[in-house]
Assembly symmetry: C2
Amino acid sequence: MTATRTHETQIDVDPRVPLVRITREFDAPREKVFRAHTDPDLLARWLGPRRYEMRVEQYDCRTGGSYRYVHVGGDAEFGFHGSFHEVRAPELIVQTFTYEGVPDGVALERLVLEDIGGGRTRLVATSLVDSFEARDAFVASGMEEGVREGYERLDELLSA
Amino acid sequence: MTATRTHETQIDVDPRVPLVRITREFDAPREKVFRAHTDPDLLARWLGPRRYEMRVEQYDCRTGGSYRYVHVGGDAEFGFHGSFHEVRAPELIVQTFTYEGVPDGVALERLVLEDIGGGRTRLVATSLVDSFEARDAFVASGMEEGVREGYERLDELLSA
């Protein structure tokens, strides 16, 4: 049995700008956490809540690439797409993000991975939108549960 | 001699979010204004101040594409790059934008073209960044002059 230590996922809303900041540590080296974000086969094993299957339609994770994936739960499908502005291994991914249920909405996302020693990694993921209303609706949508559960799945993948 | 009517370029900073909004009308149909943004050969004839030559290295203006171009003035070169999140003819372009002099800076840009009748078009271009300091530094950098002069050049191109 694997003793997977689960860290707290901290989710902060910025008081000054319409941005959400997620902070999370992982007991795994930065290269491994990075690859779990760039390799679509790995990504599909942890991103989002357990109750959804993830179907990756396109995932060209390099500077100038783009992506689309679908979360499938029963009859419901939720599509997401965007483009990769910059992918700098093993530390940075800047990308756009649209949930297709709100087709005109778009977020600018930045993922930063920091090596904090001892084979551990701190992840800071920010998501910027153009209004506080959109940001607060995103937080109120229940994203917290999906984010926390996804990172627990990522813990399991990294320790496997 | 061509009597090119020059409209005012309005540049507003949003009081609530770190965003700049540019509003400008053109005496040309929306399809033509749109094409001047998506066709790299046309773009190179108007984007930016007159004193720079524009060298387009890559310009794949479609949803999921990317771009890089360089403004050249004498010995100085200024590079810019980004990815296209969404390109929806003839009305919308959502893209990322980095000036390579500030390589970690990135803006989320949205261009909306509205048909206002009589063969005229209103352009609204917004640029969102993650801090007021970055937004205000961008405005203070002299971008206004380049934007105004670029749109005067676009007037000339559209009326040619």
